[in-house]
Amino acid sequence: MILDIKGLAFNYPGRSVLQDINFRVEKGDFLAILGTNGVGKTTMLKCINRILKPCEGVVLVENEDVYKLSRIDLAKRIGYVSQRQETPCYTVFDAVLLGRKPYIKWDVSDQDIEITNQVMELLELTDYSLRYLDELSGGELQKVVIARALAQEPDVLLFDEPTSSLDLKNQFEVLKLINKVVKSKQVAAIVTMHDLNLAVRFAEKFLMLKDGAIFAAGGLEVITPANVESVYSIPVSVEQFGGVPVVLPI
């Protein structure tokens, strides 16, 4: 077990967002978090990564309390890609290299450069190496920040809507890649998504949030028409199409 969340609750002043969130993530898990806009998916990821401080509950990563680790030790264990990106005047290479930040003492080592190069090759960013971030398309930028998180080599990867501005090919490739990294390095990924079909294709575990609480959690069996309808208030049918489950609104 790589991540254990117990009794997590979070309020913004005057507004309760999350209550009593409990779940566990194992090594090699790809967990999709599903729920409507504003249900608290981003808030939950930020609580896990200590960007926000929950009012109740504990988060354990590899049996260590996230709130007792130093920031730098936490960054070696958990990587986070936020939903919104800024575009400082850096090159793609420097932006990915920044993923090595938790390991840098005085200057980057050859190993840091090596890892950066590998990750950039994995995501086919090599041709963009010297382009500036503000000269990239939305999708290209999204790949850069995903690359930065991979260069960080954490045990748990948190991605907040990583595929929202990617095209069909890149959606598939990025999610496939995350899946591959999770399996080969035995780490875990927690990914918020709005596209149910992508979720059922690449994730094996699902967490459905409704009204700030967990509505359903588990494997593919929780993606039932009844569950989806009560979370999104849209009637759907779940079909098998060439061995792949598809969620179709009706």
């Binding site: 130093s70 958990i78 990106q85 930040k101 190496s129």
Partner: protein, 349 residues
């Protein structure tokens, strides 16, 4: 590709080397020129302790401390502005916009008038005498630190956002200016002249002792900022991303702002107010060398040194023997250059 990146960083290192060479050249020129002109070889001889006693004395005791003061103050102010702009994520942050310069002016006025250490004398070159410069320096320093601590407390305990801290600084600055004005209003003209004279920054106020103190502060601060360069880079990608990368954002920001303000306090209390360098030095370099603090910090420091040193040299040679206020010359020389760089945009490659 790896080669491309190497070429890209080499270009930045070259720019830094060029800036160093330019600073050194201007420094030699500045030591040579003045009411008594020397050749470069005489300057070099005097610097290594040879040559005739007159040139030796002028170079070692008058010109060199002044030139070093220019290099140190330019570097310190510019790098302080660079870190303030990064830490507050606001391109307008600078010693001036954060109200620190106004606080220093208030502190000096307070010492000269209320503590009564300033008078005026009737000589053409040095009309104003400040009887107890240490008291003025100390008072300026204390008030800059009061302003700094006020802003940091507002940020830490009253939740003023980093972006709003520049606004808080502007408000604080106008408060200090109001205080200065009120004091000046009730003061005889001679003392008002002394207070205004103090606010015109002047590199000539530094003797060897001040130069050593400034050197110690600026060098330590530069090392500290360089040590934090990766944190500042991470901060540029946004606060949340920086936290995700292991940066203790609040602590880095508090320490960075305090260190930058301390540098400004030391330099300003010794030399008076020197505006513009702190705002413009880092921005010029962002446009030429990019936002990466690995290169931006040393480049900003050198740019500040070069700008201030060149301005001071012009200020004291253009209508010699009159020495024009260096702050004004800095703006005269820096503003057109800066406007040109603004219109040209960022040089990406």
């Amino acid at each position: 590709m790896k080669k491309d990146y190497a070429a890209y960083t080499t270009r930045k290192k070259l720019i830094i080397l060029l800036l160093m060479a330019a600073t050194l050249a201007v420094a030699l020129y500045a030591i040579a020129r003045g009411s008594m002109n020397f050749s470069i070889s005489e300057v070099v001889l005097a610097l290594i302790g040879q040559g005739d006693p007159t040139s030796h004395a002028v170079v070692r005791n008058i010109r060199l401390p002044r030139v070093l003061a220019g290099i140190l103050a330019g570097a310190g102010l510019s790098v302080a502005g660079c870190v303030m702009q990064n830490n507050l994520r606001n391109p307008l942050a600078s010693p001036f916009t954060l109200g620190l310069s106004h606080a220093a002016a208030f502190g000096a006025t307070f010492a000269i008038v209320v503590l009564g250490v300033g008078t005026i004398q009737n000589s053409s070159t040095d009309a104003v005498i400040i009887n107890n410069p240490y008291l003025v320096t100390t008072s300026a320093f204390i008030w800059v630190m009061v302003a700094t601590v006020t802003i940091l407390i507002l940020a830490k305990f009253r939740g003023v956002s980093p972006e709003a801290m520049v606004l808080a600084g502007i408000a604080l600055g106008s408060l200090f200016t109001a205080g200065t004005t009120i004091i000046q209003y009730f003061t005889p003209d001679v003392q008002v002249a002394a207070t205004i004279f103090w606010t015109f920054g002047d590199l000539g106020r530094a003797s060897w002792k001040e130069v050593w103190i400034m050197a110690a502060v600026v060098v330590l601060v530069l090392i500290y900022f360089l040590f934090k360069r990766w944190d500042y880079n991470a901060l540029d990608s946004g606060e949340e991303t920086a936290k995700g990368l292991g940066v203790n954002v609040e602590r880095v920001r508090m320490a960075g702002m305090f260190t930058a303000a301390l540098t400004v306090a030391v330099l300003t209390s010794f030399l008076g107010i020197i505006g513009f360098v702190g705002l413009v030095g880092p921005h010029m370099m962002r446009r030429i060398i990019g936002g990466d603090h690995r290169f931006l910090i040393p480049a900003s420091a050198l740019c500040g040194s070069l700008l201030l040193l060149a301005s001071d040299t012009v200020a004291r040679t253009i209508v010699s023997p009159v020495v024009l206020p260096v702050g004004a010359i800095t703006s005269f020389m820096g503003a057109p250059l800066f406007l040109y760089l603004l219109t040209r945009g960022y040089q990406k490659r």
